[in-house]
Subunit: 341 residues, 2 copies
C-alpha cells in the first residue's frame, strides 16, 4: 500500500537505481525512461521515504529548536514571532523544524545531546542565551552547527544574531530623562539571561549620561510575564518616594506595570511613564499604547535560520555576528514628568 522505489521499478521494468536516478534528475537517464518513471511515480503517488533517504545521505534537512520554557506555559509573543520566522524560512529552504520545549536544566541538555548523537537534526537554533550557557558548551564540544539569538558571556566565539540591548535601553532611559524624569526605575529580567545584562547596563549608562545618580532600590527583577511586571511595579509604587518613570525590560512586563499603575488610578503617560522592549503587536493596541523598542523578531528568526542552514551546508557566512540596533517607538505611555520642580 505504501509505494517504494521497488514498486516503480517493477512496474516500469527498470532497476531501482535507474528509477532513483530518474527521480532525482540525473542526466544519465534517457529521456524516455525518465518520462516513463516520472509518469508511473505520479500514478502510484510515490513520494520518497524520508528516513531511508536520511539514513543514506547522512543528513536530516531538519533543524532543531528547543524552547526554554519557564513553567508550563509560554504564551510569550516573543517566542511565537520568532518561531514563525524560523519556521517559514526553514520551510522555504526545504528544511523541517523540530520543536520541543524543555525547562532550562539537566533535562534540556539531555535533549540536546540525544538529538546530536542520534543525528536527529542537522543543527540547532539557540534562543535566549544565558550566562555560562551550558547549551553553548555542549554544542561546541560536539562541534555541532548552531546559531544563537543572543550572545553569551564566555569568550568563545560562535555565530549569533542579537539586538543591541545596551544601546536600546540607553536610548529609552535618556529619552525618559529628557522628559524631565529624575526617578527612573527599571524592571529587569532574571540576571542569568544574557540580555538582562546588556539591557541593565544600557539602563545604567543612560542614567549616568543623563547625570542621574544610580539608585539600586529602583531596580527590580521580574520574570518577564505580565504578572511579574504587575507585581514589581506595585513594589515600586509602594516606595516612600516612588519613581515617575518605569523602564521595563520587555513589553509583557511593561503591560503588567501599566496595569498596576492604572489600578491606582494613575494616568499612564501623564502621572507616570512606562516603557517596554520588543514591540510586540499588543504594544500598539494597549491603552495607552506602549512606548517601546522595536525588535524585528520575525525577521531575526529568519536570519538565524538562514545562517544556520548556510553553516550546515558548509557555505561561508558573510557575517558571523550580527548586532541590530533597536529603534525607539514613542507612543502614549510616556510623557513629560509631572513632578518637575
Amino acid at each position: 500500500m505504501v509505494v517504494t522505489l521497488k514498486d516503480i521499478a517493477k512496474k516500469t521494468g527498470k532497476s531501482v537505481t535507474t528509477v532513483s536516478r530518474a527521480l532525482n534528475g540525473y542526466d544519465d537517464v534517457s529521456a524516455e525512461t525518465k518520462a516513463l518513471v516520472l509518469r508511473v511515480a505520479k500514478e502510484l503517488g510515490y513520494s520518497p521515504n524520508t528516513w531511508a533517504q536520511r539514513l543514506q545521505k547522512q543528513h536530516t534537512e531538519t533543524i532543531g529548536l528547543i524552547i526554554p520554557t519557564f513553567g508550563p506555559r509560554f504564551s510569550d509573543p516573543f517566542f511565537s514571532e520568532l518561531l514563525a520566522g524560523i519556521g517559514n524560512r526553514a520551510a522555504h529552504l526545504g528544511y523541517d523544524l523540530l520543536v520541543s520545549t524543555r525547562a532550562p536544566g539537566e533535562e534540556e541538555l539531555i535533549a540536546y545531546r540525544a538529538a546530536i548523537q542520534g543525528r536527529r537534526v542537522d543543527g540547532f537554533v539557540l534562543v535566549r542565551t544565558r550566562r555560562q550557557d551550558a547549551r553553548v558548551t555542549c554544542l561546541q564540544e560536539a562541534d555541532f552547527p548552531f546559531v544563537a539569538f543572543g550572545r553569551a558571556e564566555e569568550k568563545i566565539d560562535f555565530p549569533f544574531v542579537d539586538e543591541d540591548g545596551t544601546y536600546g535601553m540607553k536610548l529609552v532611559t535618556k529619552y525618559l530623562a529628557s522628559l524631565g524624569h529624575q526617578r527612573i526605575a527599571c524592571i529587569a529580567p532574571p540576571p542569568n539571561l544574557m540580555f538582562a545584562h546588556y539591557r541593565l547596563q544600557g539602563f545604567k549608562e543612560g542614567l549616568m549620561e543623563a547625570g542621574i545618580p544610580a539608585d539600586d532600590s529602583l531596580i527590580l527583577i521580574g520574570d518577564l510575564t505580565q504578572r511579574g511586571g504587575y507585581e514589581q511595579a506595585n513594589k515600586l509604587l509602594d516606595l516612600p518616594s516612588p519613581p515617575t518613570a518605569i523602564a521595563a525590560c520587555n513589553d509583557l512586563m511593561a503591560l503588567g506595570a501599566m496595569s498596576a499603575a492604572q489600578d491606582r488610578n494613575l494616568m499612564v503617560g501623564k502621572d507616570i511613564s512606562i516603557t517596554g522592549f520588543d514591540n510586540i503587536p499588543m504594544a500598539e493596541y494597549s491603552h495607552p499604547s506602549l512606548t517601546t523598542l522595536h525588535q524585528p523578531l520575525y525577521q531575526i528568526g529568519g536570519m538565524v535560520c538562514e545562517m544556520l542552514i548556510q553553516l550546515i551546508q558548509g557555505e561561508p557566512l558573510e557575517e558571523k555576528n550580527i548586532l541590530l540596533k533597536p529603534e525607539l517607538i514613542v507612543r502614549q505611555s510616556s510623557g513629560l514628568s509631572s513632578t518637575q520642580s
Copy 2:
C-alpha cells in the same frame, strides 16, 4: 567520531546483535554482558541513530503540526499556548513534534501529503478546522491518524476536542443582555472557520433568548487580530446608532475593539461593554481587564496530543469526541448599559 552499535560491538568483543539486545533491555542477555555493554555504551557516549531505528521500526515517534498562518506573522497567543501544550505532552510521552507553518491552500495540502507519504510523522494534530476542510479529507483518504482541535462540517466522523463555542457565546450574549444592553454587536471570525459558525450561532441564539431582535448591521467580520478588532469596532462606533456592547469572538479582537473605543474617550465597562473569547494571559492585564470566556488551551493541546498518540499506538480512545464548556470570566470591561431607558 560518531558512535554506532558496531563500535560498541568491537570494543566489547560482542556482536552487534547482542549489543542491540542488551541496550534494549531484552532478557536473553547475560547480566554481565549487559552490564559490560551498558558501561561501554556510556563511556563512548552512544545514543542510537534515530533514522536507522525508524527505518527499521517503521514508525517515527513524531507527530506533526502544521500551523495555518494567515500572512507572515502569527503572533497569536492562541497558537503558542496550544503549541506548548502539545509539545510538552509529546515530549513527556517520548514523541517528537515536527512543526511547520503554511498558509491554508494548495501548499498546505502538499505539505500534508508529503509528510504522509514520506512517513515523516506518525500522525497529525489539526488545528483551527474549517468548513469543507480539505485537510480532513486528505488525512481520512490516506487513513492517516489525526486528532483535530475543532469540528468540521462534513458528516464524516473523526476524533476531536473542541470547545462549545455556541454555548460560550450564548452565555456571554445573555450576560450582556442581562446588563441591560439592547444593541449588542458581534465581531465574528472569518466564516470559513468552523468555530466562527458555532460562535456566531451562539451569539444569535443568545440574542433570541434575550428577546432582542437580530440586526445584521451589528455583525461584522474581523480577521482575529487586534488590528481587525480595532477596525471593525470603529465601523460599529461610526454607526448612526452604535451598539452599547460588543461581543468579539476572540480576545485579540476584543482588545483591539477596546482600543478603538478608548480612542474615542469611551470608558470601557461603563460607556460601552466589550467582551472576548479565549482568556489569553493578556486579558487579565489589559485595562480594563477583559470579560471573556475561558478556554484552557494549554490543556487542550495536551489532550489532543495524548489522544493522537493513543490512536497511533492502536489503543482505544475512551472518548472520541470531547466538547468542553467554556467558562464565563467576568472582569471590568463589561458593565450595566448606561443607555437604559
